[in-house]
Symmetry: D2
Subunit: 159 residues, 4 copies
Amino acid sequence: MDIKDEWNDFFETSTEQEQQVMKLFLGSLKTKREKDQMTHIASLLNFKTTRINDHTLEMEMPNSPLLDNSIGILHGGLTATLLDTAMGTMASLVPGNKRGAVTVELKVDYLTPGVGELFICRAEVVHNGRQLVRMDGKVRNEHGTLIASASGTFFKLAE
Amino acid sequence: MDIKDEWNDFFETSTEQEQQVMKLFLGSLKTKREKDQMTHIASLLNFKTTRINDHTLEMEMPNSPLLDNSIGILHGGLTATLLDTAMGTMASLVPGNKRGAVTVELKVDYLTPGVGELFICRAEVVHNGRQLVRMDGKVRNEHGTLIASASGTFFKLAE
Amino acid sequence: MDIKDEWNDFFETSTEQEQQVMKLFLGSLKTKREKDQMTHIASLLNFKTTRINDHTLEMEMPNSPLLDNSIGILHGGLTATLLDTAMGTMASLVPGNKRGAVTVELKVDYLTPGVGELFICRAEVVHNGRQLVRMDGKVRNEHGTLIASASGTFFKLAE
Amino acid sequence: MDIKDEWNDFFETSTEQEQQVMKLFLGSLKTKREKDQMTHIASLLNFKTTRINDHTLEMEMPNSPLLDNSIGILHGGLTATLLDTAMGTMASLVPGNKRGAVTVELKVDYLTPGVGELFICRAEVVHNGRQLVRMDGKVRNEHGTLIASASGTFFKLAE
């Protein structure tokens, strides 16, 4: 049985919640088809980036069943995924950095339970060194509640 | 147009790589249907857990296009997701802990590029305190190459 | 030979730099005698605290030969000592905390070489939880140059 | 009044505990005089180093009143000082590293109260990269009780 038939079989017995997740999966495939450079995980988590200024950007992640941990709130690993992506994206955009940056280390402090409709990560350059970019990141929900605070070190790739 | 028709339309024009990802999505939905307590992200990333002993477990994550970062290697956020899940699962299983544990903070050191077929996280209890469980985690590939090393603090939920 | 004679012998052959350090040692003993609750290390490093507001304090440490690392700049361990002391002091002063707080974990990012006459640490409460106080700390010199940035978790002692 | 007279005056009224601290101060000055490259803080804390193998060393710190925090146990900042010094010393000794290494970041987990006669820090190379050395450190007392666990990143100085 090919993948198309398997999908159609699955649909026949699907619950409403499963159909909601299938919509998310389909949306992510469509986004990824349009923006080929985007990663699968960024399209799956529906990341949207806004550049704020020279050393700051914001990345949004709308809440969805995909983000739940075992007690129904934002999964700490996905909080870290949002932080790492936002901080790494900003780190690769600092002046003088031509080829991007890779994560050396990431430290995340989980402060309050991740609840809400939209999670917004603000990533800011703390220090732009010769080889290392030192970053700061905060995750808040749409009400401004601080959910997580992070720091990270990124290594500039040589030209 | 309903979700089923949208899916079928998308199939008509899908590439081989897109079909591979659709298989992963379908597999994750089937797994989640069988194991209702599993999170979507754990079924999507295909986590499998093996208990090693009283204070250690291993969690595996097979490589797939979903794990790629923007330069085609294991995404640092998903490395963190594997680590947080494995360490948090082990932290919630320590003797005397009845209601699970939540992540207080997580520190991940990225040591070598995440390449390989299978990523294996070993999570170990460093100290089981009255309220806090202190954990250690290592991610290796199938050849034993150390990819990431982490520490984390977890708070025991009261009964 | 008793300690007094040993000291007097040492003085006879002491260099100017050694006499500078002896002055620091004597000053620290005098401070400690006046303020019995102060720790030896705080009096040795000449810590001075200013409360800024409900959730912030500043702690100063004047530069001296005692602070040098092997390449003649501020020792990273003493940067950490200033941060831990300032953050821990502020953590033990949060409303509702009656018996102080102990350090659970401390993360220090060293950003620029520690040079200057005076090092000023600003410690701020990020989140005051039921059991844990989450802190942020920054060390700057007298010109405002950011030398180190830190985060820490502190556990409130039960009454 | 010169520093010698000031010292002698202080002696006249000194308590037994003060004389114990003066002995430590004098010992540290004598050690520093013999080993000029040693830092003041290393001689004050009486650090002794043993090389274990290619990628491991141990550094000892005997307990003394100087190490006490405000509740009479090992000060977290001095635990960090021992860790940073041991890990940084080992990082600067890795093969191919000609000019030493500076601390990029340090994370310390405080696990149990620091009590005992002697604190022993074992510092181990986790990964020796082209520019960065990733280190691991553990502090135990003379009974082998694990007091603190740490990780750190060090940057190799260019030739």
